[in-house]
Symmetry: C2
Subunit: 256 residues, 2 copies
DNA sequence: GGACCAATGATTATCGATTATCGTGAGCGC
DNA sequence: GCGCTCACGATAATCGATAATCATTGGTCC
């Protein structure tokens, strides 16, 4: 079941580029040249161009007129901001969902928490991050508010691309358990408690991220990068190339 | 001062199409054919295509693979949802802005309210709607939170395209005065009061919109449309064409 | 030696034409 | 008549090539 309509070249190109970016083959800040990608993939310039525009909308690349696209450098401030906004959106989601959420939806959330704990227990932080996204997406979907979901998804790539969960210093099991109070509050239909739980969750995540960033990233930012992947295009601009983000990242399809 | 870089054909096409849609020359639901627009404007298909993709990201048109673009029909539920989300985003904005907003920013807000009242007094609801957008934009900008601003702008076209202010039954002056409590709360640095004021503001706006919609739109939806503008392309699909939205709409540049 | 300026190379933006896909309606078998 | 198949027209998706634009480099003038 390859989604729907797996033709449309531009979508395939988009997926390829996204994968390449998240794998670190395009480090943050590096340029992506339309014609070169087109040649490498054996397609025309047009689909590459469209793919890049979509990626820009997703927030992973930046496009300037007549100067092309480059991988957006993850800005610490912006990511923390995104956490704050996401937190409030999910607080709203919880409030809206409270009055209409079904028992089976609550059960689904429970199952997702269990999955998270299992992934955490086996040390698979990548899988845990994926399930984490699904948990929050399920909560937002439970509101039945399409607009809220759209806005939330719009913010997701920024708040998700560089996941905190993979940070070495974070207790993965504890992170998974951080979701339990949210579910409890939902089951008790207590809006204030739910809001508080969600805010606490994001505060913890933000703090963890901050630690990761200043710790693991400042090193890379000072030029000690020792990339293992085959770097296609090194950034020539000011400042040395950053380390690829492999294993720091949760990849999933933002598809329709 | 024509913004920056008034070349880039696709931007011009986008602006043209947006204007045409908001003017009602493309009624909701009508199709927009790439090749025809290209021929009419004397450009190639490529810039039209890109413009349509951007308009899709703005939420103004809908694109389906191999079937083209059509103007999104304004869905009452979705618009009310958008109001709810926008309200919470602005509540967050107020909270964030409280601790750092400058006196001159507060003064600017005051001036904007005055402008709104003047427009309302002279009966220029269109101008009032424009200033209204600027007021809220100024509030969000005062947070210094770029991410919040980005998300807010993302939601803006949906929540703005069909403005309530132009509704005949609404007291325009009262609508302008609805902003005063927000400013008062900001000046008093009272977060709770600000939140309450903003929520009340959007509840009133939503109620006014709902009245407008069921009143002025259901008629159009039943086929009693008596369009005045020159309709370029009538929707042939199921259901009759809706009335163009002229004068129901606030137009401004969503620029960069 | 430093600042301005023109030529150049690289890359995007746009074009015109071709191909792939979808919806539809005519024709055909039942 | 009714359902199915298959051309056909319309249109988006893609292509290959050209024009427009930008950053840079090398040279010239002060």
């Amino acid at each position: 079941m390859p989604s729907i309509s797996r033709d449309v070249l531009s979508d395939q190109v988009e997926e390829h580029l996204l994968q390449a970016i998240l794998d670190g083959r395009y480090p943050p800040g590096s340029r992506i040249v339309e014609t070169r990608v087109a040649r490498d993939l054996g397609v025309s310039q047009a689909p590459v161009r469209e793919a890049l525009r979509d990626l820009e909308a997703l927030g992973v690349v930046e496009i300037t007129s007549f100067r092309g696209a480059s991988v957006r450098r993850p800005d610490k401030t912006e990511l923390l901001e995104a956490y704050g906004v996401r937190a409030e959106l999910e607080v709203l989601a919880a409030r809206l969902a409270l009055s209409r959420i079904s028992d089976e939806a609550l059960h689904e959330l429970q199952v997702l928490i269990d999955e998270m704990r299992m992934s955490a227990a086996t040390g698979d932080r990548h899988a845990e991050a994926l399930v984490d996204v699904r948990f929050h997406a399920r909560l937002v979907a439970a509101t039945g508010n399409g607009t809220l979901e759209r806005v939330w998804r719009y913010l997701l790539p920024v708040a998700r691309t560089y996941i905190t969960l993979a940070a070495p210093g974070v207790d993965a099991v504890a992170a998974a358990d951080l979701h339990r109070p949210i579910l409890d509050a939902l089951q008790m239909r207590d809006p204030e408690l739910a809001a508080a739980s969600i805010r606490r969750h994001f505060q913890a995540a933000g703090a963890a991220f901050e630690a990761t960033f200043t710790q693991g990233f400042s090193m890379a930012a000072t030029g000690a990068a020792a990339s293992g992947g085959s770097a296609i295009d090194r950034v020539p601009g000011p400042g040395p190339a950053m380390e690829p983000m492999t294993d720091l990242i949760a990849v999933d399809n933002p598809g329709p």
